[in-house]
């Protein structure tokens, strides 16, 4: 009886295939909901910096170089791939890809840097991105006001200081 069971065991062992995954040569597909490296799409990004505000590891930096340029930088050093940035993005500009093979010898290789032209709201002074290319052409960055002298004309000097309510009214009057 014991001999038979041993023989049966041997047969089962002979039938089984190789268990080891020959990994770097051929890979197994990742699970459906796997979250890999986030990929930033600059054409969809509106520069709202919601991802930077929601990142638990503070890995997305936003800084304005001048009035029209906003730079969004994803460093990726201590990113935990939680996917919050992709969840919070209103334009779905961030997607969690299936890339996990990120081993490098330079840590800067994981970094992504977006440069966005932003226009300024004349009411509140905040930056926003023009939705279409034609509207982007209306921005100050793309043309001169005074074509003969090649310079920009500033029409308003209004600043919000002191009594905000009163000055708000003044701007509306302008």
């Amino acid at each position: 009886m014991s001999l038979l069971s041993k023989l049966a065991e041997t047969l089962i062992c002979l039938k089984t295939e190789r268990a080891t995954l020959p990994y770097p040569a051929e890979a197994k597909p990742v699970p459906e909901k796997f979250r890999g490296r986030p990929i930033f799409d600059a054409s969809k990004c509106i520069g709202c910096a919601g991802c930077a505000n929601n990142c638990p590891a503070r890995e997305i930096l936003v800084y304005d170089v001048c009035q029209e340029i906003r730079i969004i930088k994803y460093l990726g050093l201590r990113c935990t791939y939680c996917g919050r940035c992709a969840d919070v993005c209103p334009e779905k500009a961030i997607t969690m890809s299936h890339e996990f093979e990120n081993g490098t010898d330079k840590i800067g290789d994981i970094q992504q840097r977006l440069e966005l032209f932003m226009s300024t709201c004349q009411r509140c002074g905040r930056c926003f991105k023009e939705p279409s290319v034609l509207e982007q052409l209306k921005m100050k960055g793309y043309r001169f006001d005074d074509l003969q002298n090649e310079r920009w004309i500033f029409r308003s000097q209004a600043r919000l200081e002191g009594d905000a309510v009163v000055d708000d009214l003044k701007i509306e009057m302008d």
């Binding site: 490296r37 170089v65 081993g103 970094q111 043309r143």
Partner: protein, 178 residues
């Protein structure tokens, strides 16, 4: 350079020492998973050893912490000379989610020089094997820094050549004049 050095020095096998300096054990489990028959890194001659004196490679997991920084440094110094350090996981690469905690000093780079980085929280066993394979020269690395720049138009207000400085301290010199 490191690739050539690796091929010369560690032609046959890597003996790895597995140093956890205050991680959550997630990366430990993934590293041990890579040693199981399913992934089987012993195909490449990689073997886990218990002492840093026998090791060629140190796999660092967890951030550099105040309590374990000295021990990590001593473990690094105890390794014989041609040695590599792998930072595995986002804690070792950049300090982890609790990078600003009082007991966390930051990435392990602050304590020991790191040669290879494997980000992930935790990285998959495949990702760890891939990182080691990059070090061994079996595969090429896939990651490249991505930069997106806006178009430069004939009459721009913004000239990229006027930018001064590096990194976060970029200043646009003519911003006031325009």
């Amino acid at each position: 350079m490191w690739k050539n050095l690796c091929q010369k020095m560690f032609g046959r096998s890597l003996w790895v020492y597995h140093a956890n300096s205050g991680g959550c054990n997630g990366c430990d489990i993934e590293v041990l998973n890579a040693l199981t028959p399913y992934y089987d890194v012993e195909r490449f001659g990689i073997k886990l050893v218990g002492s840093p004196r026998h090791a060629d490679v140190m796999l660092c997991q967890g951030p550099a912490m105040r309590s374990t920084a000295q021990a990590l440094k001593r473990a690094y110094e105890a390794m014989p000379a041609p040695k590599l350090v792998f930072a595995i996981g986002s804690c070792a690469c950049g300090g982890g989610v609790w990078f600003d905690s009082y007991s966390v000093l930051g990435p392990v780079e602050r304590i020991v020089p790191v040669n290879y980085y494997i980000p992930g929280c935790p990285p998959r066993p495949e990702a760890i094997i891939y990182g080691v394979a990059v070090a061994l020269g079996l595969v090429n690395k896939k990651t490249v820094p991505v930069q997106f720049k806006e178009l430069e138009l004939p009459i721009p207000r913004y000239h990229r050549s006027e930018l001064r400085g590096e990194g976060e301290l970029v200043v646009y010199e003519k911003a006031e004049k325009i």
